[in-house]
Symmetry: none
Subunit: 421 residues, 2 copies
């Protein structure tokens, strides 16, 4: 079963609002074993909506149209579907009554525009409205189907769960298609997409004969490379078993070739990985930041319950603040020893068990003769000598800072693991 | 000129990452007078990418393909374009050299997969890579054009500005679609989209008879509401004059109804607005943050030249850090007086002229009996008594923090204006 999503609304094309509905529908279709090979967005224009719908019907088994069911003159999804079905629109008096009651309850008068929401392409089935005024539609087109739902995210999601998904399940059962698809994402830091792909080439080749499991790589901006495992099976238990098995195989292969680069699963960020280790080891934490300017601290406080282990930090952007507040010895401050002294100062000033210091040159100009992209990290862990590291970050000012922050947290993650090993 | 956007990547269909690129491209095409009537998203599958591309070429004058230019086996946009152009791929040795140098600089070896990024459909023009390893492509298809750019947002945006937009302008000039379209965005903080729209209703009505100037509202996430003025004329001078005129009219109308809510133009962020005022008044700045946890500091250091006025800050997440480091008097710390003491402490500890303190409750639970969303800001400006303010922020933990940071900077902006008035 291949379902195409067609999002309707000129505001989507103009980038005035982000189309979160298509992503939500794609995720929920996949989780229910329904493929979605194409998404489209189209503006509030009759000819273009019918063209997008005909295009979708030609290459998919069904279409979910999202948006354009509202009460204004721009809302013409009903008319476009009726044209593609080649049927007239009939006004459904029961829906008119529901809409009129909706307005009466709010002390307002229903307008003629609102009554348009009761127009139903002949032969279509209505999905009664639950939240808003617009009902949804289930429209047969030959042996294919067009669903129409409002663009308001919670109305869309509610109708999907209540009406579209059961109808899709019926259709899949009749077509002899059943099963569950699920994904798991392993998050890595410190390897390039290509070296990760190469290290897993044998796994990818091995899976060529097993169409039920696939691997993909996602380079999602500054947060490292993700490895996505997708599995398909008859039941959720079988899918989970396939994911667990492949998860273990991928971690083993990556670990042998590239070391301990997997830091989290699905939505687990680097700061969540660090938080779990600090909590597990009963340690509190403070940070001293120069070039990252508070970025590390601001990531850490996003972790729920951060107050249990995060004490605070010093943003020592000015050199004098490094000397006066953190106790960095007079002299150059873009060095490994300065990062080490900042780590010790961070722990002392915030009264924490563990301190991290980070200094470096974000660019564009060099500083103290040190090239842009150079970052020094210091770690002060209880019962260990202070550790320092020099790193090289690619990119512009903003990226050096972002990469520097996550790299420093990754060093802390590894040091905490080494400490507890 | 009608340009269709085709976003490539199975992760988009599965909803694993949101397609922000299409919205960004749609907005920037519109701002430059280019229509975009359809967007598509398609997975990493050769047949489906070629089908999506052929569909797009059939109904638009050109296509921007976004994504699928990476180094892995999934990345097949180059192959799909070559098939639609009906030409072979040629490996460009100059691009291979650039990629090899990129890896060499990082002490790594270029792989065969990476070299695939140097494959160019015969007859296409290369957009040299600036940030990443993947070059972009400008591919003529008959009298239409296919542009290919990486899916990494900043690489995409950079290539759009540098190569696609100039090429589109040439094509529009040749097609007799002359004229210049330009936009200017006025950025506001502190008013809702509906109150802003209401305050400007007269302006919008007045423009109904003037099709050369339009107003639109963009609610772009957490950074306030934007008012976009778009003007079209024969020459850049004429467009600039139209923009200036409407800019003045909009500011006047907004100012009369809603006060001093316009803080910047186009890409000027709130921190840029604050930076300009500090520099102009020759003041240095330090910040003490509790609930925002370094967010304000990390925004400030993104302003180029921040070291001229930004000294640093203290992230006082733990109460004891507020007492010991900032000198907040013992007692409750989620109060206006505590925010004031933090402001004074921030100036003292960092050796700055101006100090800002922010404390509050991000949630989900209340703290010291104070409800989530409550934020206290203190400002210490030279020659002025310490000012404090209580604010209420909507939303979850993350939004309270983000809104709190920008609201605090907005208070600072207004206080600096009042000081110099």
């Amino acid at each position: 079963m291949r379902i195409e999503i067609v999002a309707v609304g000129t505001e989507l094309l103009l980038g005035q609002i982000a189309d979160t509905n298509s992503a939500w529908l794609g995720e929920n279709l996949a989780a229910n074993g329904v493929a979605s090979h194409f998404h489209q967005a189209v503006g509030d224009n009759h000819d273009r909506i019918t063209l997008a719908l005909r295009t979708a019907l030609a290459r998919s088994d069904g279409v979910i149209m999202c948006g354009g069911l509202g009460p204004t003159q721009d809302d013409i999804t009903r008319e476009a579907i009726a044209e593609v079905m080649n049927v007239p629109l009939d006004r459904d008096p029961r829906i008119v009554d529901v809409i009129a009651a909706f307005f009466e309850k709010r002390g307002r008068q229903m307008t003629e525009n609102n009554a348009r929401q009761a127009d139903v392409p002949r032969g279509a089935r209505v999905i009664p409205q639950a939240g808003g005024t617009a009902p949804g539609l289930v429209c047969p087109v030959g042996n294919k189907v067009v669903y129409a739902v409002p663009g308001v995210p919670y109305e869309m999601a509610e109708m999907f769960e209540r009406a579209i998904l059961p109808d899709l399940r019926d259709r899949m059962a009749r077509a002899g298609e059943e099963g569950v698809i699920a994904s798991r994402v392993l998050r890595t830091w410190g390897a390039s997409e290509s070296s990760l792909a190469e290290s897993l080439q044998d796994r990818i080749d091995a899976l060529d004969g097993a169409p039920d499991v696939t691997l993909a790589f996602l380079a999602s901006g500054i947060e490292g490379i993700k490895v996505r495992i997708t599995a398909r099976a008859r039941t959720l238990d079988e899918v989970t078993a396939l994911l667990d098995e492949e998860d273990a195989a991928v971690r083993h292969t990556i670990g042998e070739r590239l070391g301990d680069i997997v830091f989290g699963v699905d939505d687990e960020s680097m700061e969540v990985a660090v938080a779990g280790r600090l909590l597990g080891q009963g340690l509190t934490f403070g940070v001293a930041e120069s070039l990252t300017g508070g970025l590390i601290a601001s990531r850490l406080v996003n972790v729920p319950g951060a107050s249990r282990w995060f004490k605070g930090g010093v943003v020592a952007y000015d050199t004098q603040v490094k000397f006066d507040v953190l106790g960095v010895p007079a002299g150059p401050v873009v060095t490994e020893p300065a990062a080490g002294a900042m780590a010790v100062g961070a722990a002392r000033v915030t009264g924490s068990d563990v301190g991290l210091g980070i200094t470096g040159v974000a660019g564009p100009d060099e500083q103290e003769g040190v090239a842009p992209g150079t970052v020094f990290v210091g770690l002060a862990l209880p019962g260990h000598p202070v550790e320092t590291r020099q790193l090289r970050m690619p990119g512009d000012r903003e990226r050096v800072r972002q990469y520097g922050a996550i790299s420093a947290l990754d060093l802390l993650r590894r040091a905490l693991d080494a400490r507890s090993a």
